[in-house]
Amino acid sequence: MTFTVIRVQLLKLWNSKPQLLLTFFVPVLFFSIFALIFGKGLKGSAPGSLKIAIVDEDQTDLSRAVIADLAQDEALVVRTIGGAKIGSEASSDDKEAEQTVPLEQAEEWIRSAGIVVAVQIPAGFEAAEDDAPEGRVRLLADLSDQIAPRLVAAEVQRSVGRHRVEAVIARARAAAILRRLLARSPRDDQPVRDDANGDASNTPQSGPPNESESAGSPPQSPFDGPVFPPWYVVPGQSTGGDANDLTTALGSVVSPEAEQAGAVSQVGEAQVDTIDFFGGSKQNPIVAMYAAGIAVMFLLFSANNAGEALLIEQETGTLERMLTSRLGLNRMMLGKWLWMLLLGTTQTTVMFLWAQAVFQVDLWGHLEGFAVMTLATSAASASFALFLATLCRTRSQLQAVSVVLILSMSALGGSMVPRYVMSDELQSVGLATFNAWALDGFNKVFWRDLPISSLGPQVGVLAGVTLILGLTARLLARRWEQD
């Protein structure tokens, strides 16, 4: 008898194809979507997935070298004024020069979502002291993407560190060579003070070089000054120590032991300040984006429930009764659509009111944009729900189809996982969902503080979805008009 119970359940499952779909197909589908998002499709791992701009106010060899490194990084696309995306092929000085843009331009691009990060290398960066303000690279970042700034910061630090070490080595070698030359000069009676090759006969000195001279008379050659730039800190010392103790310093830099101990990475490591371009003056700004994401997803579920009511009315004969009254199909569908619009608008408003009350999302400050986006999104959701309700013949069909579609749209459209973590390909796929457009619109309103006029593309797409799905639903509903 127990076996019979199992058999009954098995037969019920087999006879209900929608249930079968939900049980076996949907989990596989969602596994695949999230595998794509978090697997090979993760942003930053794909070539050309991060768009940045560079503001080079230093215009030195170091800054140009850093720019070249960033341009050659496959994960980055450096945006230029000419519109060209300079990638790994950019290596000439000219191209490097083109890659820098004015700060105002970079800010404008961030505001319009053209880039996610602007790298600002301040004037005097190369020559700056370690703790001087101009010695710090600034990343103006759109922190709605929380991954990109970290990736760019790491790349900047790595590049600056490498070039500074190279500069140290180059200067040290040059100084050593010149000092050797000076030492061989007939009129130079000074002993050779240091040697980059670490000649044992020339024991390195501790303390400032040539103390006797420096105490009483000016240096006799330009190479008698400090060998290392002011930002250089001798590894293992809390202060600069004797930075001009060339052998000691160079040994620490280039010896395998030092490299193994991580000394190289410490040498000249850039201080990078990440500046929240949009959220600096806001309270809890990220929450607005998550509120929008969740709101859009539940908007779809609510609208779908309302659409399901249509099928319930069909199954119970209530729809037939309504259609024999004066109501008619057009008014009935318009009424359903308006109800879904009202429900969606109210639901989203309640969510944002809660977000304002509890999480300090600035709803009142963005009321117009919020109203436009909420209406546009709710309208699209309503048409979508009507479309599904008229497409499906039974409630079980609707349940299966809507679960698959709504969860897929929410996953790809950014309601579940922010789209910025997705690869460009997945982000493009996401644009086929109206979740993505809706979230982009809310993002513009709450995150970028853009005016309503900037919502044209989002509102246009949502209005198009509303119209197309609404008209399609009306066509599909003809089956209810007359047999």
Binding site: E320, R321, T324, S325
Partner: protein, 304 residues
Amino acid sequence: MTFALRVSGASKSYGSRAVLRDVSLDLPQGQLLTLLGPNGAGKTTLIRSICGRVRLDQGEIELLGRKLSPSGDRSPLGFVPQDFAIYPDLTARQNLEVFGRFHGVTRRRLRYEVDEALAWSLLIDRADDLAGDFSGGMKRRLNIACGVLHHPAVVLLDEPTVGVDPQSRERIFEMLDELRARGTAIILTTHQLDEVERRCDQIVVIDSGRIVAAGTLDQLIDATVGRDQELVVTLDRHPLRVPAHFALEADGITLTRRLSQGVRDLSLAIAEVQLLGCRVEQLSVKTPTLQAVFLKLTGKELRE
């Protein structure tokens, strides 16, 4: 004469399957017409075509003397479907208000009409309870009330007494009587033949989409099984022979005989039965019924 409803030559096919074949009927005001027929005979299709829910291939429908187009105004019609076409999560009052508005009852009159309908359907005490919590009989009454709240000239009821107890059924037919008394013309499909015999003005029997008989009960009886009474005798065992004028039923122990001469035939018949030497278990005299007419016209085999 202006009929409340006229159907002329109505035909409808789905592919090669004809569901209505040249169906015609006339319904004067204040009359109750019953559509009888086996399951799948075309009764519901005919009602749905009158409601405008089925587009006829041929034929026409006139409502109060006005020819109806397939999508024309049918506001003088009231429709009560077989299902509980009400909102279970609304109260009885709210259901009536909703369907009243759908049928164009003005807001000013709505409250009055709703109260009237609640009283008429004996639901006034449960007016503010959810319809989903009602018994089957209460749901049926509410279902009917929702269809007639706007005082239609013609009401179409598709099996309004399915699944209700005798008390509720009685009340539902009383409600229909009251409607008829107001001058409302009613078309009803039902399998409650005893109620049809008692209350209907006209009976139309449909089989396979075609009208096979139409008229009053007496007319149908005269035309089919006749007015003769029938003697039915159940014996204790299979008889050795079947007397003249008797017929042996399929069970082998029941004999039937038409009594065309009334009491005189009855006494002769009883005498013949006694000669068989069997004990009589049961004896009855039956008058012609609608069921006999129905079975005569449509046969006894199942049609499902």
